[in-house]
């Protein structure tokens, strides 16, 4: 028998609440965390709104702030969610846990570049006549302007490194960045590390903010974001006929994953079990998912096979559901291909309708919502669902939460560039 991996702690800071409880309560009430952007003046951007984390203060979660002084939002969000998860799991430093067998696996985004500073440096070294950069000017200015700690915090290993240092987690330490699939992939691979005996416990999840001028620029240029500036709270409308792109969000979700016998021995509270993990690539195009959902289908099947559960066992699907035309169409197609006629009987909802798309952090936060659904027996809705799309004809739990006993949830995450990840989380049974 392979080792079983359970969830013994959860933490989240999101646009809909800075604790797991607050997040889930707002989700079952169908609230939206979307509003006009406050992080910077976005009034001239094609998209002027996002789901931002409001009133976040790291000091509320972490006492010793010295390590986080120069850290960017990714690291700070991650620290807050990790503190919640580790407290929840009774797994902070000073407990009897072997710290060398306790690792970190994040799907955390890159640190944020200082937009005013960088655009100023580039602008000052640009020659508009021949449209070229004077690199000597750029280098001189950059060297005299850059603040080493601030530059350093852009590196992608700093967040998992800070968490390991702060919370004394001396086991394996990984960060992956596979766009919108990252934190789901992190959780899947962290689960496998425990199954294969490389660690007893893993702090795993994701953290990301791309609500800054470079991030909005990049996604706007790809025409991936909704531009429904007239009504931001209605902009994220997964599976609705009038969807026009995703709404970017920010935040972090963290879980403590633990080998079952280890959790039992120390009397940990068990929230659920990670039973299935599937991971594939579309290998199709950079900007589009495969038209027939090839990668998504194989990924969902892979997760179900890994769990050993019959297809019928899946009681709820927490969809990737980005509110882009292509994703919602392809994901619906994939669910129908895998589940056949029964697809129409499985409730499918998208957390992104309410919290937006947390990019690398999305999967972890959505897995937490999936676990809360199992524990509380209420499926959060897909809000802003108004006009059915004939191509998206499943039960999307429109607008109102629904009571239902769910034992096994499938959570999908599909990344830009073609990485697909599906996780199955189950009610814990001995």
């Amino acid at each position: 028998m392979r080792k079983r991996v359970v969830v013994t702690g959860m933490g989240a800071v999101t646009p809909l609440g800075q604790s797991v409880k607050e997040l889930y309560e707002n989700q079952i009430q169908g609230k939206s965390g979307v509003d006009f952007i406050h992080n910077f003046d976005a009034t001239t951007f094609p998209t002027k709104f996002a789901a931002e984390l409001k009133g976040f203060e790291l000091g509320r979660f972490v006492k010793d702030l010295s390590r986080w002084k120069h850290a960017g939002p990714n690291a700070r969000f991650a620290a807050a969610a990790s503190m919640q998860a580790l407290q929840d799991a009774n797994a902070l430093e000073g407990t009897s846990i072997d710290r060398t067998r306790f690792g970190v696996y994040l799907g955390c985004g890159e640190g944020i570049q200082d937009f005013p500073q960088m655009s100023k440096l580039i602008g000052a070294s640009y020659n508009p006549e021949n449209r070229s950069i004077r690199s000597d000017i750029f280098i001189k200015e950059a060297i005299s302007t850059f603040d080493a700690p601030e530059e350093y915090e852009q590196e992608m290993h700093t967040t998992p490194g800070h968490l390991a240092g702060h919370f004394d987690l001396e086991g394996p330490n990984y960060n992956c960045l596979t766009a919108c699939a990252a934190s789901s992939q992190a959780i899947g691979e962290a689960t496998e590390m425990i199954r294969q005996g490389e660690a007893d416990m893993m702090l795993s999840g994701g953290s990301h903010s791309m609500i800054h001028p470079f991030g909005i620029t990049g996604f706007n240029l790809l025409t991936a974001l909704s531009q429904n500036n007239a009504n931001p709270k209605k902009a994220s409308r997964p599976f609705d006929l009038n969807r026009d792109g995703f709404v970017i969000g920010e935040g972090a979700g963290m879980l403590v994953l633990e080998e079952l016998e280890h959790a039992r021995k120390r009397g940990a509270r068990i929230y659920g079990e990670i039973t299935g993990y599937g991971s594939t690539a579309d290998a199709f195009r950079l900007t589009d998912s495969h038209e027939e959902g090839r990668g998504a289908i194989a990924c969902i099947k892979g997760a179900v096979d890994d769990s050993g559960l019959p297809l019928d066992a899946i009681g709820y699907i927490n969809a990737h559901g980005t509110s882009t035309h292509v994703n919602d169409f392809t994901e619906t197609l994939a669910i129908k291909k895998v589940f056949g006629e029964r697809a129409y009987k499985i409730p499918v909802s998208s957390s992104k309708s309410m919290v937006g798309h947390l990019i690398a952090a999305a999967g972890a936060v959505e897995l937490i919502t999936s676990i809360m659904t199992i524990l509380n027996g209420v499926i959060p809705p897909t809000i802003n669902y108004e006009t059915p799309d004939p191509d998206c004809d499943l039960d999307y739990v429109p607008n109102v939460a629904r009571e239902a006993k769910v034992d096994h949830v499938l959570s999908n995450s599909f990344g830009f560039g073609g990485q697909n990840v599906s996780l199955i989380v189950s009610r814990f049974r001995d």
Binding site: P46, I122, T158, L177, G417, Q419
Partner: protein, 421 residues
């Protein structure tokens, strides 16, 4: 259960400043060649460190099909190096792609931060900032982005694009991951790919890492980090790992992709097996005491079922950094004492960042294959703070295993044990 599945390496694709394929790379190592010299890609004169292990005459078109060449415009240099090394690995491994099951074909890369090319943001920045003395006008930027920046701009710089492009070019539909853990990234990727093959989620993998920091923005950042050697008078001798006179890192660029596969899969297709991935370990060394790195090495040895006596040589990270070399040496000493020779190829090619681990590991693979371990360059004056036996002269390979070590300055550590086939 799949616990007995074994993982072997059957192809090596490598591009560095001393050689643009595995044969040329080995030839360079065997000759003691050094690719470090004054930077040519841009005018480095304002920098305190003006040299690096830069690749001369790299042309990504050579490694891509007609269809693939269309994508070069959306590939930053790190991505180009990855896709080129992937093609070389496929060639070296004599892989007939038509005979592979695409759904059992995985891809995994270690990737670093990829900075935007400055010219791509030039016009928008200029319009937003006007003259340097003006405050930045983000509204002016927002108005102009669609006219001034190309639509796929962001895709060119996402770290998952190394693995994405490789998966598209080779129809690899299996697991696909991108490890962004700085200098430990590509060894962690190799460890994970091995884990995936062992657990029977794939049969065949392209795994590697690639990184280029030889551009104005990355070099300016490296300078403010303050870890580079400033020996502009003598670039070839600037990087002196474990030597008492060491004074800092030297940046290099390049990439490496390995073909790794499950043993029976390799045997069935008649592959020429280079080595077995026998063990892997990873850890976080809190406070850089050396205990954590030693733990990762011991874990890898344990997984391989061997003792330190079975190791021919340690292929070290060998950054040339005063403090980090001492850290690494403490860990190696803790596990091996001074009995096992330590080799590093950093002085030959510079530090490849996220690509360093697997590229350097390829050096040991080729040494095993050819039966000779070349010496470490630039090591003359032993340092009591680095109590290890640095291999300086070429010698015959004596034992079937080597261990490759990698870590970040924050404390993320990885160790891989390979066995000559």
């Amino acid at each position: 259960m799949s616990a007995n599945r074994r993982v072997v390496i059957t192809g090596v694709g490598v591009i560095t400043s001393i050689g643009m394929d595995a044969a040329a790379f080995w030839d360079g190592l065997a000759r003691g060649a050094c690719g470090v010299r004054t930077i040519k890609a841009f005018d480095p004169s304002p920098l305190a460190t003006r040299f690096a292990g830069e690749i001369d005459g790299f042309d990504p078109k050579k490694y891509l099909s007609k269809e693939g060449r269309k994508q070069i415009r959306v590939m930053a240099r790190s991505i180009q190096l990855a896709v080129a090394s992937a093609q070389l690995a496929i060639d070296d491994g004599k892989v007939d792609k038509s005979k592979l099951d695409p759904t059992r074909f995985g891809v995994e890369y270690g990737a670093g931060l990829i900075p935007s090319e400055l010219t791509e943001l030039g016009e928008a920045s200029y319009l937003a900032t006007g003259k340097a003395t003006h405050p930045v006008d983000v509204r002016a930027w927002g108005e102009k982005i669609r006219e001034t920046i190309q639509p796929l701009w962001m895709l060119k710089y996402l770290p998952n694009m190394l693995a994405c492009h490789v998966s598209i070019l080779h129809d690899a539909q299996g697991p696909n991951n991108s490890i962004t853990e700085s200098d430990a990234a590509s060894l962690l990727a190799l460890g994970e790919a091995t884990r995936i093959l062992r657990r029977n989620q794939a049969d065949f993998f392209l795994v590697g890492g690639a990184d280029s920091k030889i551009n104005p923005l990355s070099q300016a950042r490296q300078q403010v980090f303050g870890r580079l050697s400033r020996n502009n008078e003598d670039p070839v001798h600037a990087l002196k790992p474990f030597d008492k006179r060491r004074d800092g890192l030297v940046i290099g660029e390049g990439g490496c992709t390995l073909v790794t596969e499950e043993l029976e899969h390799a045997q069935k297709r008649g592959a020429s097996i280079v080595a077995e991935v026998a063990g892997f370990g990873s850890s976080f060394d809190r406070g850089l005491t050396g205990k954590g790195l030693a733990r990762a090495i011991r874990f890898a040895l344990g997984q391989a079922g061997i003792t330190p006596n079975d190791i021919d040589h340690v292929n070290a990270q060998g950054l040339g950094s005063p403090d980090l070399d001492a850290f690494e040496a403490r860990a190696i000493n803790e596990v091996f004492g001074t009995a096992v020779p330590v080799w590093t190829i950093k002085p030959n090619i510079g530090h490849l960042g996220a690509g360093s681990g697997v590229t350097e590991l390829a050096g040991s693979l080729l040494a095993m294959k050819h039966g000779t371990l070349p010496g470490t360059l630039n090591y003359e004056t032993p340092d009591p703070a680095c109590p290890i036996q640095v291999q300086t002269k070429a010698r015959a390979i004596g034992k079937p295993y080597f261990v490759k070590v990698g870590f970040t300055e924050m404390g993320q550590c990885a160790a891989v044990v390979c066995k000559k086939w």
